[in-house]
């Protein structure tokens, strides 16, 4: 996983999602990476050091090729010495890894029982919260609107939210405006388009006119990905099909009752629909955009400011849990830990299929895709900018949006940005990376041009 890799190794790619050109195929590349990742993480301190150093290097060399050229020419140790002259890496690492006094030990974190929240949930039974000195109660919540309300009410100290939600709450779209932050992304990929079994011969999206789809929430990656997918196939998501918000637990029941023809929803709903012989998986969301963010761990900026020690410990627990979850060998153990009624409350085999990526697709085949769901906590600001362009595209926010500002304010690109300021340095331009969605490249520095390039859009 890129965030924890050794940043001083020139052969390593630091930004995820772009092929480094050193391997013959994407699969070989992934395999090689997996092997390398396993040998590099000896201890927790090394992990934090890599996080800090990684951020610094990423900030200094936004283009990965430049970083690699630099490292190849001077070597890792010289690079480390050179950078340490300007930025004391060891101090920053110490400050980050240092246990600041915890102001509030007993915390309540809300979650929705879907596999996106795996790091938040598994940190409880697998002991990550207690390891960092916190006594956290993870509380199952009825729906996204309730989780939003309870976090705004301060009934929860932090919560599992959809990535667009902290942005929407900060902008005041669909809720009272309150400054929110998303310092960590819970998972990438992990969703799918599932259709009712009666449509198994209707796999071409062009024949989907008049269909009724469900998404978990209006401000969700699911909504934006579904709309993007439909628009790319020439369907207008507002006039040619019906998209409605349905809470994830009710999606399978609605599919069975024929209320909806399909949904783009979070796991375990997709796999559960297959398990109960109600639907089949048409497309994994990673085939729309590989590496898309889904859910985030969100806290109000007030919490971050008034309880920084608690916040740092909480974030560390989540980062630890995410690192543990990103290793494929741990997935089975995690599936067993989060299956009971106290957590996700689903049969273990359903969760195993999702987390290990070996699954039944509903049409008779067993498919294998290890990256079906993955865990990478870094909140790239380019993610936030893409989300904002789509919110504007579909009319959820109007007027001029200062994309980069909002993204920077909400998607806290790691604690080290703050730490850099504390040490007296001006942080460089926010770490962003360009990626492509369904083959179309997104350049985060040109959001307006990207928005204008769509035929089907409601942006004025």
């Amino acid at each position: 996983m890129p965030m924890f890799d050794n940043p001083f190794d020139p052969k390593r790619r630091l930004t995820s999602g772009c092929p480094c050109g050193q391997h013959r195929s994407a699969e070989e590349h992934d395999n090689a990476l997996r092997l390398q990742a396993q040998e590099v993480l000896p201890s927790e301190d090394k992990r934090y050091e890599n996080v800090v150093a990684g951020t610094v290097l990423r900030a200094m060399f936004p283009k990965d090729s430049a970083r690699r050229a630099f490292l190849k020419s001077v070597g890792a140790s010289t690079a480390l010495a050179a950078i340490s002259q300007f930025f004391p890496l060891s101090t920053a690492t110490e400050v980050f890894a240092q246990a600041k006094p915890i102001e509030k030990k007993d915390l309540k974190v809300g979650f929705i029982p879907i596999t996106c929240a795996t790091p938040i949930i598994m940190a409880h039974p697998l002991g990550f919260y207690t390891k960092h000195g916190l006594n956290v109660e993870v509380i199952k919540t009825a729906g996204w609107a309730v989780i939003r309300d309870k976090t705004l009410n301060k009934e929860y100290d932090a919560a599992h939210m959809l990535s667009p939600m902290p942005l929407a709450i900060t902008l005041g779209a669909g809720a009272t405006a309150q400054a929110y932050t998303a310092p960590a992304i819970e998972n990438i990929n992990g969703q799918a388009i599932t259709l009712s079994l009666k449509h198994k011969d209707k796999r071409d999206p062009k024949s989907w006119k008049g269909f009724k789809f469900a998404v978990p929430f209006d401000y969700s990656m699911h909504n934006y990905l579904l709309r993007y997918y439909l628009a790319e196939h020439g369907l207008d998501p507002d006039t040619d099909v019906q998209i409605r918000a349905v809470p994830p637990p009710e999606m399978v029941a609605n599919l069975r009752a024929d209320n909806i023809d399909g949904f783009l929803g979070p796991d375990p709903m997709n796999q559960r629909a297959v398990f109960d012989n109600v639907g089949f998986i048409h497309l994994l969301s990673k085939e729309i955009w590989d590496g898309h963010p889904c859910c985030a761990f969100a806290a109000s900026q007030e919490f971050v400011k008034t309880a920084p020690g608690t916040y740092a410990s909480l974030l560390k627990s989540i980062i630890d849990a995410t690192a543990f979850a990103s290793k494929p060998g741990n997935r089975k153990q995690i599936a067993e830990a989060i299956a009971p009624a106290n957590y996700i409350n689903q049969p273990v085999t359903v969760l195993e299929q999702i987390l290990t990526g070996t699954y039944a697709d509903g049409l008779g085949t067993v498919k294998k895709d290890a990256k079906r769901v993955d865990f990478d906590p870094f909140p790239y600001e380019s993610f936030a900018i893409w989300i904002l362009t789509q919110m504007k595209r579909w009319g959820q926010i109007k007027g001029d949006v200062k994309y980069a500002d909002v993204a920077k304010q909400v998607f806290l690109a790691t604690d080290t940005t703050r730490l850099m300021k504390e040490v007296g340095l001006t942080p460089p331009a926010s770490p962003t990376k360009s990626f492509s969605v369904m083959g179309k490249v997104f350049d985060p520095s040109k959001p307006d041009a990207y928005l204008k390039s769509f035929k089907i859009s409601k942006a004025s």
Partner: protein
């Protein structure tokens, strides 16, 4: 002879009830024990699929399954595995506590207000439009407003119970007070009884049967509302239990919960029915 007839009626009624139950259970068992079509699939695929696909088992559970799970719940009602998984007994206790508080609040508001409306034509006419407009509003419609203003999910649930169960009591109290027999009021006036004493010794006992009927209707509504409110808000309670099991598409547990909800509702109703019997008087 009369006693014999009475006994044979209730005896015969219970026989018919049991017969209906047995027929229903048998029909349910037959309906859910059949197997549907099973497609051919290779064994590795079959391992990953549920029983509906591999064995054609019906998605709806049969009475034996439901009975077995119900027994499990009843024999271990107070387990606590964490904030999201508690025994049936604990969840019921939470729900009953919430209902109790909301209902008590409603009683404290409805009966005095009902007296006022019953005794004064002016107040009755003046408050009538408000009552008529607020009465039909569903608890689910109140919930978002309550959460938004009260900002606390437990208090919001109690408020919603209050606002929905206050109307039957209010209207019945007003009606009961307004229809106290004029002769009794005249006697009270002749005896020069003070207003307060008159309210407590003449009007209250006279209106008591009607008031208790109103209370009985209200407790039914309050119990109905708490299940809906807890499904929306979550956390603890029998409504949350239903929602949690719904997440897992465990129809067996949902049916169990429904049965338990029905039985507790019946018990609450019976308590008030007994209370009503205590205050009835022959006309």
């Amino acid at each position: 002879m009369a006693i014999n007839n009475a006994m044979s009626i209730s005896f015969r009624a219970s026989i018919v009830s049991i017969l209906i139950l047995v027929i229903f259970l048998v029909a349910w068992h037959i309906a859910t024990s059949g197997t549907g079509a099973v497609q051919q699939m290779d064994p590795e695929y079959a391992k990953l699929m549920g029983l509906n696909a591999t064995q054609g088992k019906s998605a709806m559970p049969g009475p034996l399954q439901v009975g077995a799970t119900l027994w499990q719940h009843l024999t271990n009602p107070f387990y606590d595995n964490g904030p999201n998984d508690k025994g049936l007994g604990i969840q019921l206790a939470y729900s009953i506590a919430r209902v109790g508080m909301g209902y008590l609040l409603a009683v404290l508001v409805a009966i005095p207000l009902g007296f006022l409306i019953g005794m004064s034509q002016l107040m009755s006419r003046a408050l009538d439009p408000f009552i008529q407009v607020l009465k039909p509003i569903s608890p689910l419609a109140w919930m978002p407003l309550a959460l938004y203003t009260i900002k606390d999910s437990s208090l919001s649930a109690i408020f919603v119970i209050f606002i929905c169960s206050v109307w039957p009591m209010l209207i019945n109290t007003a009606f009961g007070v307004a229809s106290v027999r004029k002769e009794w009021l005249n006697v009270a006036r002749t005896l020069e009884v003070g207003a307060f004493k008159r309210a407590f010794t003449v009007i209250l006992p006279a209106a008591a049967p009607t008031i208790l009927t109103g209370m009985r209707i209200s407790i039914g509504i309050a119990w109905l509302v708490i299940v809906a409110a807890e499904m929306l808000v979550g956390g603890t309670g029998i409504g949350y239990f239903v929602w949690n099991e719904w997440n897992n598409l465990s129809i067996t547990n949902v049916i169990n919960a429904i049965l338990v909800i029905g039985i507790v509702g019946m018990i609450l109703d019976q308590i008030l029915a007994r209370a009503a019997k205590l205050v009835t008087y022959p006309e």
